[in-house]
């Protein structure tokens, strides 16, 4: 026992030192999220150390003393996990320019949860939602309780790809991830689809036989996850405009090009089709503006020509059955027509909710038209879209506008952007890199301008 106790104390002391080292680091945008997370880890260590002290109590039965040591190890393990979960949140990994503007999206969507952003060297965008019920931990120290109280639970962590995949225009996908944080605000009446659900059950039973109550629950869980993805796509679209569609499609193209279908996600082609339907809706639509000003026809495949479209149902069932069990494969195949039918309702319900709760966050075709006219020519002349003249007053360009102007230039005017004097490397890649740098500069300086305006 004594060896375990000493080893645990040493582990906790080393964790404490690691936390101190991390506290000394720089988190972009002076973001409070990582510091709150470190305080929580510190609180876990305080409580673990208290358990170790209690284990020395001579009046404690040896078995209970052993339990105290084991639980101290568990708390230390939890603190260690917390440190792992915040890897990549420092200025070395996540582009420092984007954090404050992302936080403006968070605030604009009235997301009050504590949040932090991090990058990892992987093709992955993710919202991680975590909740610890600290009050239930026996003997939680005041420091742990205070650290927990300072966090607005559940805590959210947004992950973006770092390094080579950390291209600014692709960061529009973050709007989808924030959609996950607010999707539960959007209640949708699905009862009108009860008959379609019964048809789904009939089709599945025709493939695999009678379903038990457990199977029905499983199918509803998959459907629920798929609808959450579509709700989050809708948030991504209404907040970030067509930039979200291009970013998602571009990301899917570069990160695997598969069907995208599984327990958690509907097929990628269904998602892209729905997005294009909405890009083409309204007058003028985003698609009209792209056609009129950039000569570009928007199709579901435009930025993801190699992302696979799902095969016909029988073929898809045979393919999926190789990886998933037969029931899951049948659910996934037969849910596709159902979610396609529900898609329109999901987008309209999300739009209604955003109009009610944060109308300022909706990016409209009218705003896109203004942004294009204000910034695209200038951007091609290497002038970053930092600000615009609004009746004699200079105002900062929003992150959403910068992303959309960036995609407009990337897709319709890339040849107009100078590749610079360097002769090394691919010329198109050099143009794109220069565009990326201009957009990052715009994000940084527009945020500086906004801060300046706010402090005047």
């Amino acid at each position: 026992m004594e060896h375990a106790r000493r080893a645990c104390s040493f582990f906790l002391a080393r964790l404490r030192a690691e936390i101190e080292r991390l506290r000394g680091g720089v988190f972009p945008g002076h973001h409070p999220g990582p510091h709150k997370w470190l305080n929580l880890a510190d609180g876990f260590i305080d409580t673990a150390e208290q358990y170790i002290q209690q284990s020395y109590d001579p009046n404690l039965h040896p078995d209970l003393a052993g339990v105290k040591v084991v639980e101290a190890e568990d708390l230390g393990d939890q603190a260690y996990d917390l440190l792992e979960q915040m890897l990549g949140s420092d200025a070395e990994h996540i582009p420092h320019q984007v954090v404050a503007p992302f936080q403006r999206w968070v605030d604009g969507l009235d997301i009050e949860n504590t949040i932090f952003f991090r990058a990892e060297h992987a093709a992955n965008y993710e919202l991680w939602i975590v909740e610890y019920d600290i009050d239930n931990i026996n003997g939680a120290t005041d420091s742990l309780k205070a650290a927990s109280k300072a966090i607005h639970w559940p805590l959210l962590r947004v992950t973006v790809p770092g390094q080579a995949l950390g291209m600014l225009p692709h960061f529009a996908v973050v709007a989808h991830e924030l959609g996950h944080a607010i999707e539960d605000r959007v209640s949708i009446d699905f009862d009108k689809y009860d008959a379609d659900w019964q048809e789904f059950v009939t089709r599945v039973q025709a493939r695999i036989g009678t379903l038990s109550q457990d199977d029905i629950i499983d199918a509803k869980e998959i459907l629920s996850d798929w609808l959450i993805e579509l709700k989050s796509d809708a948030v991504g679209f209404y907040v970030a405009g067509p930039a979200f569609f291009f970013a998602l499609a571009g990301f899917l193209e570069i990160s695997g090009r598969g069907y995208g279908i599984g327990r958690s996600h509907p097929p990628s082609d269904t998602r892209l089709d729905l997005l294009v339907d909405h890009i083409k809706s309204g007058a003028p639509s985003f698609a009209n503006i792209y056609k009129d000003l950039g000569g570009l026809d928007i199709t579901p495949e435009i930025n993801s020509p190699n992302v696979m479209k799902v095969s016909p149902p029988d073929n898809l069932f045979a393919e999926l059955s190789r990886d998933l069990d037969g029931k899951e494969a049948a659910f996934c195949v037969e849910l596709i027509p159902l979610v396609k039918k529900m898609g329109k309702d999901i987008y309209s319900s999300v739009l209604l909710n955003l109009k009610d709760e944060c109308a300022d966050m909706i990016y409209t075709p009218a705003q896109f038209l203004l942004d294009w006219n204000r910034h695209v020519d200038a951007l091609c002349a290497l002038i970053p879209p930092i600000e615009y003249n609004d009746g004699g007053t200079l105002k900062a360009t929003s992150l959403t506008s910068i992303l959309n102007v960036g995609w407009a230039a990337l897709l319709t005017r890339l040849d107009d952007i100078s590749a610079g004097s360097s002769t090394t490397g691919d010329e198109t890649a050099r143009r794109m890199e220069r565009l990326n740098e201009l957009l990052l500069k715009a994000v940084e300086l527009s945020e500086a301008r906004r801060l300046w305006d706010e402090h005047q």
């Binding site: 991680w128 939602i129 019920d133 991830e177 996950h180 539960d184 009446d189 009862d191 109550q213 959450i228």
Partner: protein, 144 residues
């Protein structure tokens, strides 16, 4: 999206289940802690109960708008299905009723209390078993 619910690693959940079981078996945790434990258990079981009802009803709306409650139910279902099979929803509902009774009247009837005791015990056993069986990471060898 990833939602973190690993009951085998959630010390708070383990403690509240242990404390709930101790209370039913007559332990004295002090009035304040007793109230906190019962409220917490009632909140957790109400959520699981709501999740099970949402999944069980014929209409789709409830099932598709109660994600969090469904996750809670699924986590408990995972731990209890070997013992209770398709009776898990009913057992969770009764456990929640017992907690409501205890919070309101200080006690519940013998049958409901016994069910609550069984549910808490089985959840704890399953969580401990899952922890004991958690495999170490497998060594990986990847050749391209």
């Amino acid at each position: 999206m990833r939602v973190e619910r690993i009951p085998s690693k959630d010390i708070g959940l383990r403690h509240v289940l242990e404390n709930g079981l101790a209370l039913i078996e007559g332990a004295d945790l002090g009035e304040h802690r007793k109230e906190q434990v019962l409220q917490s258990l009632h909140r957790i079981f109400s959520e699981a109960d709501r999740g099970s009802q949402a999944l069980g009803v014929y209409h789709l709306t409830a099932a598709l708008n109660e994600k969090r409650a469904i996750e809670r139910f699924s986590a408990f279902y995972h731990h209890l299905r070997h013992e209770f099979g398709e009776a898990v929803p009913a057992r969770l509902g009764q456990a929640n009723d017992a907690l409501a009774d205890i919070l309101e009247n200080g006690s519940s009837d013998a049958q409901r209390t016994e069910n609550l005791r069984q549910v808490l015990r089985l959840l704890l056993e399953s969580i401990r078993r899952e922890r004991a069986l958690a495999p170490l990471r497998r060594p990986q060898e990847i050749s391209y």
